[in-house]
Symmetry: C2
Subunit: 374 residues, 2 copies
C-alpha cells in the first residue's frame, strides 16, 4: 500500500520527491510532506450521504468597529458549532459516533493522520457507523466572537479584557503528548508516528477556551447535547480538553447519549452529586488512556496524566457502585505498549479503534436483557 | 426527496420539529435548522479516497507569553493551509478541482448549502472530479498567528499593532451578497435560499486578511501554487476575495493550473504586464458572475460588483488579444436570472455547476488539436 492519493498521478513518487525538494529550497517554507503521504485505501468508501451543518449559535448585535469597519452596525451569529458528517451506505441505522477534538486542535484530529494513514472518522464509517466531527465553538470552522479584539485594537477596551490564545509548542508536545521525554527523543516503544510530528504541528490553531474567549458553560456542551438528541442518541466521544464533554452533554440531556467514550480526559470530574451519578449509571461509558502516564509533561503540572487516569478510575468506580456500566480501556493491560495522548493518530490507531468498536458491539448495542460484558 | 440525513431516524420529521420547538424556547439560542434539512441523495457517493492534509507553513519561534503561558518558549507552525479532499472511484485521473472560499468564510462555502442541498464539493465529485477544499491561511482549520494578540493582552505591544478582524453583518449581506436591496426583502427572482439566510450567517468566521493579520503576499497563493503543481495541474477555483487567487497561483507556477475559474472576483487585476498576460493566455479561464450586478452593496463602495464584472471583462479581452482562451459565464445572458454572489449555494447551484462542468469538458479537457469552443 504505497500509492498516493493524488489523482492522475499514482506512480510518480520520484517526480513528487523532486518537486518537494525544489520547494524545500525556499527558506522557511515547509515541505508539503503530507500531500504525497496519504495512502489510497484498498476498497472504495461508499457513503449514503456526507456534508456539514451547524448546531446552535446566538445572534449578537455589534458595532461598526466590532465588525471591522466595512459596513454599519448589525447582527452576526456567534457560538455556533460546525459539524461534518459521513453516513455509510447500509449503516444508516447504526449508532452514530460524534468525535470531539481537544485543546488547540480542530476536527482535523480525527481525519487523515499526520503520516497519511486513515483517521478514525473514516474507519468508524467503514465499520458501519455514521460519524459526526465538530469543530468546538471558538475554533476552526465554528469561528469565534471577534468583537473585543477589534475594540481593544481601537482603544475602546483595555488590552487585558481580550481573551488569551493558547498554543502548544512543538517542544512541549513531546513530553505533554507523551511521545518522548524530550523533543526528538521518542520513547523506545512509542506508537506515535514521530517522523511526521511536523504535520501534527500544522494541526494547531489558537485556542481561546482557556483564556476567557468562550462563555461558561461552554456552548459546545449544549450543542453536543442538541446534536446527540437530534441523532436520537449518539455515542459521544471526547478527547483531552473535551474528554469530559460527553459526560456533561449526557447530564444536560440523557436522550443525547447511547454511549460515552472519554479519550484521555484532562480530568474526570470528581464533584458529581448522587443524582448525576445515577444518570450516568444508565449510560455505557468507556475511558481510554495511552501509555507512559506517569511521566513528566514538561510543564508545571507533573504527573498530570497519571492524575487524570486516577480521576477517571475513581469516577468509574462511583458510577459502577450505582449500578453503571463504566470501563477503562488501558491498552498496556492488554499487552499493547507505547500509545500516546494522540492515540487516534498512533501507528496502531485502527487496533485501538477495533477495541472501541468491540465495546460498542458488546455493550452499547447489546440487546436488551443480554448478559453484561465483564 | 424529503428524507433527512439523520441515521436511524429517516421518517421522524414531526418528532424533530417538536425537539426544535423545545430548543427554540430557550432565549437567544438558535434552532439547529440545518440538522434536519440536509437531504439524502438518491445514489450513494463512491469514493476512492477522502481525507485531509496541510500545504506549506513556516516555523515561528515564540515566547512563553505569545504561546499562552502554559509552557516555555518554543516553535509552532504558522501559515499552513488545511485542505480536505474527496476522490471519486473511477475519476482518479480526471482533472482535480480546487475550490477556495471568499472573505469571512471557510471551505464550508462549498459544502452542504444553508438549506441542506448538495454543495459543489460533492457535486463535482459525483461528476467525476477529485475535489480539494482548502481553508485559507488565517482562517478555519488553517489557524492564524496568535502571537501579537497575546502580546497586546499582556501590555507588551500597542493595541493598534494587532490585526483587525472583519465580519459581514446579517444586514449588510442582503445588499452586498445581492439577495435583495434590504434585509428581508429579496429580489423577486433571487435564487439564494433566503429562508435559510440564518444558516449562512453561521458560516461567518473572523477574517484578518484585510486587517494585516496575513503576510503579503498572502501565503495562500503560494500554497495553492504548490497544491496545483503536486496535483500535476488542477482547475483552480476562487470566490470573491479569492476570486483572483487562481490567476496569481498560475503566475507563480504555470504548472499548477490546467484551468482557472474565477467566481465573483472582487476585482480582476488590471496591472498585469505583457509577460504575465502571455502566461495566462496559455491557460483556459472562466469568470462567473451572478445577477443584479448594478445594485448598491449597502456599503460605501456602490456599484462595486458592476465594476468587478467590468474589470474581468477587460482582463478577458486582454488575455484573448494575446491568443488566450478566457470566457465570461454570465447566466442572465443565457436566460438564467436571479443568481446571487453566493452562486454555489443558490437554489440552481447545480445548474450553474453544470455550465462550469461543460466548460471543463469542452475547453479544459479538449483533446490537443481539437477545434476551440467559441
Amino acid at each position: 500500500m504505497n500509492r498516493t492519493i493524488l489523482s492522475g498521478c499514482l506512480q510518480r513518487t520520484l517526480w513528487t520527491g523532486l518537486v518537494t525538494l525544489a520547494w524545500l529550497g525556499a527558506p522557511g517554507w515547509l515541505a508539503a510532506q503530507s500531500i504525497r503521504d496519504p495512502k489510497m485505501p484498498d476498497k472504495p468508501l461508499v457513503l449514503a450521504a456526507q456534508g456539514s451543518f451547524f448546531v446552535g449559535g446566538q445572534k449578537a448585535r455589534q458595532t461598526r468597529n466590532e465588525l471591522g469597519n466595512l459596513g454599519p452596525e448589525g447582527n452576526i451569529t456567534v457560538h455556533q458549532m460546525y459539524v461534518r458528517f459521513m453516513i455509510p451506505k447500509g449503516g444508516e441505522r447504526n449508532p452514530p459516533v460524534v468525535m470531539v477534538h481537544g485543546a488547540t486542535l480542530t476536527g482535523k484530529s480525527w481525519e487523515t493522520t499526520p503520516d497519511g494513514r486513515m483517521g478514525w472518522d473514516e474507519y468508524f464509517v467503514r465499520k458501519g457507523h455514521p460519524v459526526y466531527v465538530p469543530d468546538q465553538v471558538g475554533r476552526g470552522r465554528s469561528g469565534f466572537n471577534q468583537a473585543v479584539f477589534n475594540n481593544v485594537r481601537a482603544g475602546l477596551a483595555p488590552p487585558a479584557s481580550q481573551p488569551g490564545f493558547l498554543r502548544f509548542s512543538d517542544e512541549i508536545v513531546w513530553p505533554n503528548f507523551r511521545f518522548g521525554a524530550r523533543p526528538g527523543e521518542p520513547y523506545p516503544e512509542t506508537k506515535f508516528p514521530v517522523s511526521a510530528v511536523d504535520e501534527l504541528s500544522k494541526q494547531g490553531v489558537p485556542d481561546l477556551t482557556f483564556g476567557g474567549g468562550v462563555p461558561m458553560p461552554n456552548p459546545t456542551l449544549r450543542a453536543l447535547a442538541e446534536l446527540g438528541r437530534e441523532l436520537r442518541g449518539a455515542i459521544l466521544m471526547g478527547h483531552s480538553q473535551s474528554g469530559s464533554f460527553p459526560l456533561e452533554a449526557a447530564l444536560l440531556d440523557p436522550a443525547a447519549a447511547r454511549g460515552l467514550v472519554l479519550v484521555e480526559p484532562g480530568r474526570c470530574p470528581g464533584n458529581y452529586n448522587d443524582e448525576q451519578i445515577r444518570k450516568l449509571a444508565a449510560i455505557p461509558i468507556l475511558a481510554v488512556y495511552g501509555d507512559y502516564l506517569d511521566t513528566s509533561t514538561g510543564m508545571s503540572n507533573d504527573h498530570f496524566w497519571k492524575l487524570s487516569y486516577d480521576s477517571c478510575q475513581a469516577l468509574i468506580q462511583r458510577i459502577n457502585a450505582a449500578g453503571g456500566r463504566a470501563q477503562m480501556l488501558y491498552p498496556p493491560e492488554r499487552g499493547i505498549r507505547g500509545n500516546s495522548y494522540m492515540i487516534m493518530q498512533d501507528t496502531n490507531n485502527l487496533q485501538i479503534a477495533d477495541l472501541i468498536l468491540a465495546w460498542i458491539r458488546s455493550v452499547v448495542m447489546r440487546p436488551a436483557g443480554a448478559p453484561r460484558r465483564k
